[in-house]
């Protein structure tokens, strides 16, 4: 199976580019909000894509830094959710 982290990173790069930002150097452990490549609407778009990509429905209470703050965290969340 393809590493989900690559797909997540690729999506972040794509969304960041629309805002004029470069997220290509974002590491899997780096904090996505702290790097500033995506603003809140951008992060929401990322979550929407994530739900569709991994066939998940995420409750708002789950939208925490622990679960979605890094690419690694997002990949772990998808794995735990059985996606």
């Amino acid at each position: 199976m393809t590493d989900p982290r690559k797909a997540i990173h690729q999506k972040i790069i794509e969304l960041a580019k629309r805002l004029g930002n470069d997220a290509s150097s974002l590491g899997y452990h780096d904090s996505i909000p702290d790097r500033g490549a995506l603003d809140s609407p951008g992060l929401l778009e990322l979550i929407m894509w994530f739900e569709n990509e991994f066939n998940l429905e995420i409750e708002q209470e789950e939208l925490t830094l622990e679960n979605f703050g890094t690419i690694d965290a997002m990949a772990s969340y998808a794995e735990k959710a059985g996606a």
């Binding site: 909000p33 603003d39 809140s40 609407p41 929401l44 979550i47 939208l63 830094l65």
Partner: protein
């Protein structure tokens, strides 16, 4: 049993309209308030909206046909496979519509427009529907001025002459229609002014960062918290939460905060209703829910209409100044922008019929101060 969608009256002098466009295909599921068709007269074009949820079964006329006001324009049913009533049933529906109400007087038509009502919704006490009939109906139902539902308030004045250079007509999408109606309201019904203040963003940024940490939020809550604060300011300064109607002030009962968001290439407004009742955490959660709902295209009509105050940010682009258009029937819209180095400003468009510059400056000054601990 399918329900008839009637042809609206666009103005008091035209008893017929021209059917110009189907905005949905027969078989499409629509929600109340969704655009269904376009009709026009020499003076105005008008988007006819569904008056209930259901499937559009059929249109009763061909494009470019001239049709009588009050006749059945389309049928809406509970399922896409429902049979369309016969011509006789349509005629009967037209006829029964005609007996419920009379042609509105000019004053009644204006009132109907302001409340988003159709003449057929209001019982007439005589042959013509009078302003008194409409006022009685408004009082009995406890209605407030509306910006949704099929009515002449959505009519957009047609330009007096076509564009001077060759080109082609391209149909507007429903969101583009919505934006057209919004800006048309400001053009014809408000007296907009704009002002802005310099402000120090640091205290608010610190406040939002602490809130984000405390609630373990993924999303930066700065804009939702500013919007929440604005709703509180509107409670403290009720004039902000009012409009002008029939030469009188109309004080809204609740603070419904309209927040502009971008979904794909469309600009939308989501509305946090009764925002004055929400604490910060509940407000931030509600606004995030609405944004996700807009992205999923699953908002209910009341979640995208009925704003009494507005908030708009273009910080993401990053814009250093923008002058937003007032939302229909609102008096103040916050214009949040991106700080440029050490300099930041926050502004507001306001309806000068309702507010003066001093009112707006006072509101902005309150807004730029983060809430005290006991306010949260």
């Amino acid at each position: 049993m399918p329900a008839a969608l009637y042809t609206p009256r666009l103005n008091n002098n035209d008893d017929t309209v021209r059917f110009t466009k189907c905005l949905v295909e027969p078989g499409t599921y629509v929600k109340q308030g969704d655009p269904v068709a376009e009709v026009e007269t020499d003076k105005a074009t008008f988007t006819v909206e569904a008056d209930q949820d259901g499937y559009v079964l059929a249109f009763c006329f061909e494009i470019d046909e001239t049709i009588a006001v009050g006749s059945v324009l389309a049928w809406i049913g509970d399922s896409a496979t429902e049979a369309v009533p016969t011509a006789a049933a349509a005629a009967s529906a037209d006829s029964s519509a005609g007996t419920r109400t009379g042609t509105p007087t000019l004053k009644a038509a204006i009132l109907l427009s302001q409340y988003g009502l159709a003449a057929k919704d209001v019982p007439a006490s005589a042959e013509r529907l009078s302003a008194t009939d409409v006022e009685n109906h408004i009082r009995a139902k406890g209605l407030v001025p509306a910006s949704r539902t099929a009515s002449v308030s959505h009519a957009v004045a047609a330009p007096s002459s076509p564009p001077p250079e060759p080109g082609k007509k391209i149909a507007l999408s429903p969101p583009a229609h919505g934006m057209l109606r919004t800006v048309s309201w400001q053009k014809s019904d408000a007296v907009p002014g704009y002002l802005e203040l310099a402000w120090d963003v640091a205290p608010w940024a610190e406040y939002a960062a602490a809130f984000q940490k405390q609630h373990r939020l993924l999303l930066n809550p700065l804009l939702p918290l500013l919007a929440w604060r604005f709703a509180r300011v509107a409670v403290e300064q009720p004039l902000i939460n009012s409009t002008i109607f029939a030469d009188q002030s109309w004080q809204y009962e609740h603070v419904n905060l309209g927040f502009t968001i971008q979904v794909s290439s469309n600009l939308m407004v989501v509305v946090v209703r009764e925002a004055e009742k929400l604490d910060q955490a509940a407000f931030v959660k509600k606004l995030t829910d609405l944004q996700r709902g807009a992205m999923r295209n699953s908002l209910r009509p009341e979640e995208a209409s009925g704003a009494t105050i507005g908030f708009s940010s273009m910080a993401r682009w990053p814009v250093t100044r923008h002058v937003p258009v007032l939302l229909p029937h609102t008096a103040m819209m916050i214009a949040h922008t991106s700080p440029s180095g050490q300099n930041a400003c926050i502004g507001a468009t306001y309806d000068h019929r309702v507010l003066n510059g001093q009112d707006v400056v006072a509101a902005l000054r309150s807004l730029t101060t983060p809430p005290a601990a006991d306010e949260a």
